[in-house]
């Protein structure tokens, strides 16, 4: 049976894991054995797309084309993009729909960018498991809203993966820990990732993982610590230089290295080299300075922690374990903050970079029927509701309601002969509709009747992925009505179709690029070897042979400078054939020499 994989699609790094009989296992990159795939995608001129480590290395030279934290943009509209981010990347200026990055002459949406990361992980998994992989569980921050979840699901679909379940990251981490320790009781998961913060409180009992409440901030993460630290070294440069995107990208990379160093040592240096302009900038920083610098960022995690305890109806001292997840929880100051809130040190038995992926792998195993002893009961992170008279937000499903959750609401018409009812669905905790996040607008057709006579029953269902769907039924006829959905910041079905077609083209493109690169490397090897042989064994050539080989070499060189890998392969074959008799004679001669020298030694 085909295996279901678990994917941690992170802001900074992504991983893929699978559940084996002896527990979850992270799958690695076939070529290097790497466990983490940097969540970086670079769109190069000529259409080549580079993913992972190489894409991240390209960022300083291609600041607008190499996208490093695409997760921050999932499910957003152009108007939600911060000023900082607008300086960091180029966006298509548009009023509606999903935000689009302007890379070269292309416009790409966050789900398309994420799909490249997922496709690479799919390749890793297919190689490791030795067969096709088309089904996955993908993790998302618990505090992701409906649009962000839908965008993640879209990314999976574009990558050729059926997303069977979106699992909340802290919940996945709890699964990984629970499997490990068979715990019972109340635990908290503090998850400070690259770009998002989640805090969840769960009750564990007899294999059931029941999320009591969750809270967080989808715009708070380790990236923010790096950005703050980068400013320190940028301050050493003249403003016009410090403002350059390529310099800023380098400063962020230097800041990240310094942050990691400060987890183990009391002081370090943020070192920024700009060789092409012959400049350097260095700033010494102590752990104490760093903590002072980022105090307000880390402190922003306190209010969500308090709120989650309140919502869960649990006192801090009743929490038996606090699990730390996300690379940023390696920062000692963050650890102290956790200990201060919960009155106990955080548990870090499992690598905080891998724990979410391992949990996703377990959930994949649960879905395929491999772990019937475990069950996850998660919640919707933000209240869902509709806009009612006067722009008021009317809650239909409260935050922290266990999912799946459903609610029915009856609608009628306000004027005579009205032929449709408009429903505006939003998500958030604020009183006014305008202050919450718009998810979608629905237009529900209705029979033309006097005002107030039609009765429309609308069912809102939040599925186990935390994604909303809407169905409507005419209560007079009992007929189900189709609901036309217009996602506020998502992709429409037509956009998805078009992207799917394009992604198939691009998948072919990507394969072609890979083949081309491999063929060129092979051409270089055979060309170098031929030249070497001709130089040392020239006398072995028979008349006319030199010319034939020379022509084949010229043919391969010409093909190599072209873009067609099939032509290169053909030219490689032609050169091999042309050199074959020569190579055999060279071999014979070498052998004779070797034998001759042996005889001399034996004598």
């Amino acid at each position: 049976m085909e295996r279901i994989v678990g994917i941690d699609l992170g802001t900074t790094n992504s991983l893929v894991a699978v559940l084996e009989t002896d527990g979850p296992r992270v799958l690695t990159e076939p070529e290097t054995g790497a466990r983490l795939l940097p969540s970086a995608v670079a769109f190069l001129p000529g259409g080549e797309v580079v993913v992972g480590r190489r894409a991240r290395e390209l960022a300083p030279d291609h600041p607008f084309e190499a996208i490093l934290s695409v997760k921050r943009f999932m499910g957003l509209g152009f108007e939600h993009v911060s000023d900082d981010d607008r300086r960091r990347y180029r966006f298509v200026d548009q009023r509606a729909g999903a935000v689009r990055f302007a890379v070269g002459d292309r416009a790409v949406t966050p789900p398309e960018v994420s799909a490249h990361i997922l496709r690479e992980l799919k390749r890793w998994a297919e190689h490791a498991l030795g067969g096709p992989v088309t089904k996955a569980v993908i993790t998302v921050p618990a505090y992701f809203n409906d649009s962000q979840r839908q965008a993640t699901k879209d990314a999976g679909r574009l990558a050729g993966l059926e997303v069977l379940r979106l699992v909340n990251e802290p919940t996945a981490a709890a699964l990984a820990y629970g499997l490990d320790k068979r715990e019972e009781g109340t635990i908290a998961v503090y998850d400070l990732g690259g770009g998002t913060f989640d805090i969840s409180v769960l009750k564990l009992r007899a294999g059931v993982f029941e999320v009591l409440a969750t809270n967080g901030d989808t715009r708070l993460g380790g990236d923010d610590l790096d950005a703050r630290l980068a400013e320190v070294v940028l301050a050493e440069l003249p403003p016009e230089l410090a403002g350059r995107p390529s310099v800023r990208a380098r400063a962020r990379a230097a800041a990240e290295r310094a942050k990691l160093a400060l987890s183990d040592q009391a002081q370090t240096e943020v070192a920024l080299d700009l060789p092409e302009i012959g400049r350097q900038a260095r700033a010494a920083i102590t752990r104490h300075d760093f903590e002072h610098l980022v105090r307000d960022i880390v402190t922003r995690t306190v209010a969500p922690c308090r709120q989650v305890l309140k919502d869960a109806g649990v006192e801090a001292r009743e929490v038996q374990e606090v699990v730390a997840v996300g690379g940023s929880t390696r920062v000692p100051f963050v650890r102290r903050q956790i200990a201060e809130i919960f009155g106990r040190p955080a548990l870090v038995d499992i690598d905080p970079d891998e724990v979410v992926a391992l949990g996703a792998g377990i959930q994949a195993g649960i879905l395929s029927g491999g772990r019937r002893d475990m069950l996850l009961l998660d919640v919707v992170p933000l209240s869902l509701g509709i806009e009612t008279m006067g722009g008021v937000f009317t809650r239909l499903i409260d935050r922290n309601t266990t999912i799946p959750a459903t609610v029915k609401e009856t609608f009628t018409t306000a004027v005579d002969s009205q032929t449709s009812v408009d429903v505006h669905v939003l998500q958030g905790e604020r009183e006014l509709a305008a202050d919450n996040r718009s998810l979608a607008r629905f237009k529900i057709p209705i029979a033309a009747l006097p005002a107030g006579v039609p009765r429309l029953e609308v069912t809102f269902l939040v599925d186990a992925n935390g994604i909303l769907s809407v169905t409507a039924a005419d209560m007079r006829t009992g007929l189900e009505r189709s609901v036309e959905v217009k996602p506020s910041y998502g992709l429409t079905e037509e956009e998805m179709e078009r992207m799917l077609e394009e992604s198939i083209d691009h998948a072919e493109d990507d394969v072609r690029q890979r083949q081309l690169r491999e063929a060129r490397v092979e051409a270089d090897v055979i060309l170098a070897a031929t030249r070497q042989s001709l130089a040392t064994h020239g006398p072995v050539l028979v008349p006319g042979e030199g010319d034939a080989i020379g022509a084949a070499v010229a043919g391969l060189e010409a093909a190599r400078s072209g873009e067609d890998y099939v032509q290169i392969r053909d030219a490689i074959d032609a050169l091999s054939r042309a050199t074959e008799p020569f190579a055999r004679r060279v071999m014979d001669e070498s052998l004779r020499e070797a034998l001759a020298s042996r005889r001399l030694e034996e004598l």
Partner: protein, 217 residues
């Protein structure tokens, strides 16, 4: 009292005698809710206000293990849809019955006498306190002083204690519940609780004690 004694047939495997269980005992397909179900019957409980919370949790977990979409991921669309709908009802049943206040309100609904949240009428027992508190809040808003702040905080604590007391008293009412006076008494107490909750919410926002639930704004 297991809700539905009448013989039903599994829509998938056709086996009869599946009783009122959430899934077919033979093929594990989720079943549509029997007609006349309510939040008590979906958990296999008798319609009674008094219940054992440990038993409630056990029933909920057993139901969730059988019905949750995770268990029917590889099944046909109808099974997946039924699993989703039935899980949603089961979740609501547990959340409602677990909390004595929500259980009481559901009881009123079930008996055709729902409590309206937007009840503008102040419960008689609270009238004096409400009037005084509103005045204190108004004073705090117009000219906040540390003394007024401390005073409102004291009032808040007293009202919170009263709310706790009212909630604790519910179990006594539920244990002895029987007879005609129950609905009226239940409604009176629940409207007091609802009113106190609103009042405490007002006080908290006046004191600025709100934890930012949605810190993204």
């Amino acid at each position: 009292m297991d809700g539905n004694e009448q013989e039903r047939q599994c829509w998938r495997c056709g086996s009869t005698n599946i009783r009122g269980g959430p899934v077919c005992p033979h093929c594990e397909a989720p079943q549509p809710l029997p007609p006349g179900s309510d939040l008590f019957t979906v958990l296999g409980l008798p319609r009674k206000l008094v219940l054992d919370t440990d038993d409630l949790e056990r029933r909920y977990h057993a139901g969730a293990r059988a019905l949750h979409p995770d268990r029917h991921q590889t099944a046909e669309p109808r099974a997946r849809e039924l699993s989703e709908r039935a899980s949603a009802v089961l979740n609501r049943a547990y959340r409602t019955l677990r909390d004595p206040v929500a259980r009481g309100r559901y009881w009123l609904e079930l008996h055709g006498s729902p409590l309206h949240v937007d009840n503008k009428e102040v419960p008689a027992a609270l009238a004096a306190d409400v009037f005084e508190t509103q005045e204190q809040l108004e004073d705090l808003r117009t000219s906040p002083t540390p003394e007024r702040h401390a005073e409102v905080r004291r009032v808040r604590d007293a009202l919170a204690a009263r709310l706790r007391g009212l909630k604790d008293d519910l179990s006594g009412l539920y244990a002895g519940a029987n007879g005609d006076g129950l609905l009226g008494e239940l409604k009176r107490r629940l409207s007091e609780i609802a009113y106190l909750r609103t009042l405490l919410g007002d006080i908290d926002s006046a004191l600025g004690d709100e934890c930012g639930a949605d810190s993204r704004h």
